[in-house]
C-alpha cells in the first residue's frame, strides 16, 4: 500500500501486528490456528482412550511408558486417567476447538469482510476476547499436571461428583470462566458489527447466509453463556469456600459424612449447565450451516434454494434452542408435565432443521456442481448431519430415551452432528477461505485424499456406535467388557478404534497440506472461486482496513448463472452485475 520510505515509521512492531493485534483478520487466524491445535490435542486424547476401549487392560505400547506411572501404571491406563481423557476430550472439542474455530476463527475473519466493514466494531475488545480464550485453553491443558490430574467428571461436570473431585476440577472452572468471558465479549462484538457496520446497500435480505448464522449464534452465546458462568461460580464456591449449592444434606462419601451445611440441589447445576449447553449445540452447528451455504451456492453456480426460508429457520432454531434444554434431564426424575413440555419443544425444533436440510438439497437441484475440495466436504456434511439429526429423534422422545439415554447411541448421535457434520463444514470453510487468508490455494489433490480418507474413517468410527448403543452399552465405561452386553459388541470397539487411528492418519495429510501450501500453493487473485460475496472484492490476503474502496452492495448474495449475463456469477459488489467489478484474471466461464 504505502511506499517503503514511510513504512518504517508506520509499520507496527511484530508483537502489535501478529501477537496483540487488533486486526480482525489476524485475530481470526489466531483463533483458527489455536483452535486447530486444540482440536488436534482433543482428538489425540480420544485416540489414546480408544486403545483402552479396544484392548481393555492391555499395556499401550511406547506411549504407555511416556505418559508415566500415575496415568498409566505399567503402561495400562488407570481408570482416573481414562475419565480425565474423556472429560477433557469433550471440554476441549466443544469449548476450545469447534466454537473458537467456527465463531472465533471464521466469524472473525469472514464476517467483517462479508459485510464490507473495515474491521470489527470494537477491535480492542476483539483482541481481549482472544487473549481471554488462549489462557483459558492453556490453563485447561495445564490441569493435566496438577495433583490428581485434570477434570474427570465428564465435560458436563455434574455435581456432587465434580464438587468432590480433585484439584483439576477447580482449574476446569477457572478455565471455563475465561472461555465464557471470551465468548461473551466476542458475541457482543459480532452483534454490533453485523448490525452497525454493514456496507451501503447491504440490507438484511442481502446478507450472506453465513452472516445470518453468525448473528443468531452470537445471540445464543450472549444470552446462554451467563447462566453457565453463574453455575461455574457456584461450583467454585462449593469447591473452595465450602458452600453447598449443589450438595443436599446427608451425603456420605466413602463411608464418611461430608462436613457441609447441605440443603443444595444437584439438579440446579444441570439446569444451568444445559441452559447453555443446549444452545451451545446450535452454536456448533449454525456457523457450520452458514459455511455450507456459502460453499454450496458457490459450487452449484446457482442461488441458494429458499434463502429466506433458511434465514427464518435459523432464527427460529436459535430461539427454540433455549427451550429444549431439559431433554438432557429426562432421567433425573422430573415430572410428567415438564418432560412432556420439553419433548414437545424438542420435536418442534426438529422441523426447522428438516427445512434447512431440504433447502440445501434443493439447492443442488438444477446446479452445475463443481466438486472442489470445499464442495466435497460441504456435500458430505448433508448426509452426515442428516444422520445426526434424525437419530436425535429417539433421544428427544422420552419413552425411547428411557432405553437409549446415556448409551453409545447418544455418543454416535451428537458426534454425527459435530464431527462429520460441523467439523466437515469447518474443513470446507478452511479449504474455501484459505486462499483469501493466505493468497494461496490449498493443494486440491491432497485435499481430496484428506476428504475421502476422513469420510470413510469417520463413518467407521461413529456408525458402529449406534449398534453398541442399541445393545445397551453405557457411555464413559473404562472397561465395557465388564458387562455381558458390552462383550457382545466389543468387536465393534476394535473397529472403531482402528477407524479413529485411521482418521488421525488422514489428518496428517491435511496438516502437511496446510503448511506446504503456505509456501508453495498456487497463488490466487482476488476471487479464485468466482464467488459473489463481498470478501472476494478484497485483495488476497486483504490489507489492513480490508477494502481498497468503500464497497457498495447492489444485489442479493448468491446471484450465480443469472440469465443474460456474460459470466456465471454476478458479484454483490459489481454495479452492472456482469462479472467482476475490477479487471482480474478470468477463470473458465
Amino acid at each position: 500500500m504505502s511506499d517503503h520510505a514511510h513504512a518504517e515509521h508506520h509499520e507496527m512492531p511484530f508483537w502489535r501486528k501478529y501477537i496483540f493485534s487488533v486486526d480482525h483478520k489476524v485475530i481470526g487466524i489466531q483463533y483458527a490456528v489455536s483452535a486447530l491445535v486444540f482440536l488436534l490435542v482433543g482428538f489425540s486424547l480420544m485416540m489414546i482412550m480408544r486403545w483402552q476401549l479396544a484392548y481393555p487392560g492391555q499395556p499401550l505400547p511406547i506411549l504407555g511408558k511416556i505418559l508415566g506411572d500415575t496415568a498409566m501404571p505399567g503402561g495400562v491406563m488407570a481408570p482416573e486417567f481414562y475419565n480425565q481423557l474423556g472429560a477433557m476430550h469433550g471440554t476441549i472439542m466443544v469449548f476450545m476447538g469447534v466454537v473458537p474455530l467456527a465463531v472465533g476463527g471464521f466469524g472473525n475473519f469472514v464476517t467483517p469482510l462479508q459485510i464490507g466493514a473495515p474491521d470489527m466494531a470494537f477491535p480492542r475488545l476483539n483482541m481481549i476476547s482472544y487473549w481471554a480464550f488462549l489462557p483459558g485453553g492453556l490453563i485447561m491443558l495445564a490441569s493435566f499436571f496438577v495433583q490428581g490430574g485434570a477434570a474427570q467428571s465428564g465435560w458436563t461436570s455434574y455435581p456432587p461428583l465434580s464438587d468432590i473431585a480433585p484439584a483439576g476440577q477447580t482449574i476446569w472452572c477457572f478455565g471455563m470462566v475465561l472461555l465464557i468471558t471470551s465468548s461473551l465479549l466476542g458475541s457482543i462484538n459480532f452483534i454490533v458489527t453485523i448490525v452497525q457496520l454493514r456496507a451501503k446497500g447491504l440490507t438484511y435480505w442481502r446478507l450472506p447466509f453465513f452472516v445470518h448464522a453468525q448473528l443468531v449464534t452470537a445471540f445464543l452465546l450472549l444470552l446462554a453463556f451467563p447462566p453457565l458462568e453463574a453455575a461455574t461460580v457456584l461450583q467454585l464456591m462449593d469447591r473452595l469456600a465450602g458452600t453447598s449449592f449443589f450438595l443436599p444434606s446427608g451425603l456420605v462419601v466413602s463411608g464418611e459424612q461430608l462436613k457441609i451445611a447441605g440443603g443444595g440441589n444437584p439438579l440446579l447445576w444441570q439446569h444451568l449447565f444445559w441452559f447453555l449447553a443446549h444452545p451451545e449445540v446450535y452454536v456448533l452447528i449454525l456457523p457450520a450451516m452458514g459455511i455450507v451455504a456459502e460453499v454450496i451456492a458457490n459450487n452449484t453456480r446457482k442461488p441458494l434454494w429458499g434463502y429466506r426460508l433458511l434465514v427464518y429457520s435459523v432464527v427460529f432454531v436459535g430461539f427454540m434452542s433455549f427451550v429444549v434444554w431439559a431433554h438432557h434431564m429426562f432421567m433425573t426424575g422430573m415430572g410428567t408435565t415438564m418432560s412432556t413440555f420439553f419433548q414437545t419443544t424438542t420435536m418442534i425444533i426438529s422441523v426447522p432443521s428438516v427445512i434447512i436440510l431440504t433447502c440445501f438439497i434443493m439447492s443442488l437441484y438444477g446446479g452445475a456442481i463443481r466438486f472442489t475440495t470445499p464442495m466435497l466436504f460441504a456435500t458430505a456434511f448433508l448426509p452426515m448431519f442428516a444422520i445426526g439429526g434424525l437419530t436425535g429423534l429417539p433421544l428427544g422422545l422420552t419413552a425411547s430415551d428411557i432405553y437409549l439415554h446415556d448409551t453409545f447411541y447418544v455418543i454416535a448421535h451428537f458426534h454425527y452432528v459435530v464431527a462429520p457434520g460441523t467439523l466437515f463444514a469447518l474443513f470446507a470453510g478452511i479449504y474455501y477461505w484459505y486462499p483469501k487468508a493466505t493468497g494461496r490455494k490449498l493443494n486440491e489433490t491432497l485435499g481430496k485424499i484428506h476428504f475421502w480418507a476422513s469420510f470413510v474413517a469417520i463413518n467407521f468410527v461413529f456408525m458402529p456406535m449406534f449398534f453398541q448403543g442399541m445393545a445397551g452399552l453405557s457411555r464413559r465405561l473404562y472397561d465395557p467388557t465388564i458387562y455381558a452386553h458390552g462383550r457382545g459388541v466389543q468387536a465393534l470397539n476394535v473397529v472403531i478404534s482402528w477407524g479413529a487411528w485411521g482418521l488421525g492418519l488422514a489428518q496428517l495429510v491435511f496438516i502437511v497440506n496446510f503448511f506446504l501450501s503456505l509456501k508453495s500453493g498456487a497463488r490466487v487473485a482476488e476471487n479464485p472461486w468466482n464467488a459473489t460475496t463481498l470478501e472476494w472484492a478484497t485483495p488476497s490476503p486483504p490489507g489492513h482496513g480490508n477494502f481498497l474502496t468503500e464497497p457498495v452492495v447492489y444485489r442479493e448474495p448468491y446471484e450465480y448463472s443469472v440469465p443474460g449475463k456474460a459470466n456465471d456469477f454476478s458479484p454483490q459488489f459489481s454495479p452492472e452485475g456482469d462479472g467482476p467489478a475490477r479487471p482480474q484474471p478470468r477463470g473458465g466461464a
Binding site: 452445475a368 456435500t379 429423534l393 425411547s400 465395557p480
Partner: protein, 266 residues
C-alpha cells in the same frame, strides 16, 4: 444360570412395559430409514445429474417444489404421532401409574461409589429405621437393627433378586453422587439424585440372570458399578428370602451408640 446372549441390536426384553418402548424405537428407525434413503436417492441423483460438465449450465430460476412442502408436512404429522401417539402414553404410564402397593414387592435401593445396596423389607413388609450415622462397612444402608421393623430386613450388595410376574416398586436413592440405575433388559433407567428418593416400578415377564449397570459417570469405579439381576420364580424368591433373612437376635448386645451424632451443621 447361563449368561444371556447379547447381539448388536436391542437385547431381549423381559418387562411388561418394554414392548411399547421397543415398538417406538422400531417405528422411529423405520421412519428415519425411510427419510434417509428417500432423501439420499434424490441427493445422489442431484449430485450425478447436475455435475459440472462442458455444455451444462446451472438453472438460475428456483424450482417450484411442491413435493418438499408435502414431505415436510408428512414429517410433522409423523412426529406428532410419534410424540402423542407412541411416546407420551408410554412415558406417562412409566412415570405416573404405579402398580398396586399391596400386590407389589417394595425394595429400596441405595447407590454408592461403586456399589448397589438393596434393602428388602423382609417378612413383615416394613422397612426398618435407617440412619446416616449407622452407615458403616457391614451396614451399607445404615439400618438400625434394633428397630422393630428392621429385625427381618435383608440388605444385599450388588445382588438384586425379585420374583417374576410380580410388580416391583423400587425406591432409588444415593449416598454420594449421581448414579443411574439401568437394567437394559427391563428397559428401565433412572438417575439417582442425591437428596431425593425416586420411585420406579416394573414387572418382569421371564426369569433369568441379567445385569444392572450404572449409566451416569460416578467416578473412577463407574465402569465396574455392576450388579447381578436375578429374576426368580416366586417360589425361588421365597426360598431366597427365607435363606437370607437375618438370624433372630437374642439381646441387643451390639447395640448402636446411644447418641448418634446429628448430621454436621457447619
Amino acid at each position: 444360570m447361563d449368561e444371556t446372549k447379547y447381539g448388536w441390536w436391542l437385547p431381549v426384553d423381559v418387562s411388561t412395559h418394554g414392548a411399547k418402548i421397543d415398538q417406538l424405537i422400531a417405528v422411529l428407525h423405520w421412519f428415519m430409514l425411510l427419510l434417509f434413503v428417500g432423501w439420499g436417492i434424490f441427493f445422489v441423483y442431484c449430485l450425478w445429474q447436475y455435475r459440472a460438465r462442458p455444455g451444462h449450465l446451472a438453472i438460475y430460476a428456483p424450482v417450484k417444489a411442491i413435493a418438499t412442502k408435502y414431505i415436510e408436512a408428512f414429517v410433522v404429522v409423523v412426529e406428532v404421532f410419534l410424540l402423542f401417539g407412541l411416546s407420551t402414553p408410554v412415558w406417562l404410564a412409566y412415570k405416573s401409574q404405579p402398580p398396586d402397593e399391596s400386590k407389589a414387592l417394595h425394595v429400596r435401593l441405595v447407590a454408592e461409589q461403586f456399589a448397589w445396596n438393596f434393602h428388602y423389607a423382609g417378612k413383615d413388609r416394613k422397612f426398618g429405621r435407617t440412619d446416616l450415622a449407622l452407615i458403616g462397612g457391614d451396614n451399607p444402608v445404615g439400618l438400625d437393627p434394633d428397630s422393630a421393623e428392621g429385625k427381618d430386613d435383608i440388605v444385599t450388595v450388588n445382588q438384586f433378586h425379585f420374583p417374576v410376574h410380580t410388580p416391583v416398586i423400587l425406591d432409588i436413592s444415593t449416598k454420594d453422587v449421581i448414579h443411574s440405575f439401568n437394567i437394559p433388559v427391563l428397559r428401565v433407567k433412572q438417575d439417582t439424585i442425591p437428596g431425593q428418593r425416586i420411585p420406579v416400578w416394573f414387572e418382569a415377564t421371564d426369569t433369568g440372570h441379567f445385569e444392572l449397570g450404572c449409566a451416569q459417570l460416578c467416578g473412577l469405579g463407574h465402569y465396574r458399578m455392576r450388579a447381578d439381576v436375578l429374576i426368580d420364580t416366586p417360589e425361588d424368591f421365597a426360598k431366597w428370602e427365607q435363606e437370607n433373612a437375618p438370624p433372630p437376635q437374642e439381646a441387643p448386645a451390639a447395640a448402636a451408640p446411644e447418641n448418634h451424632p446429628a448430621p454436621e451443621k457447619k
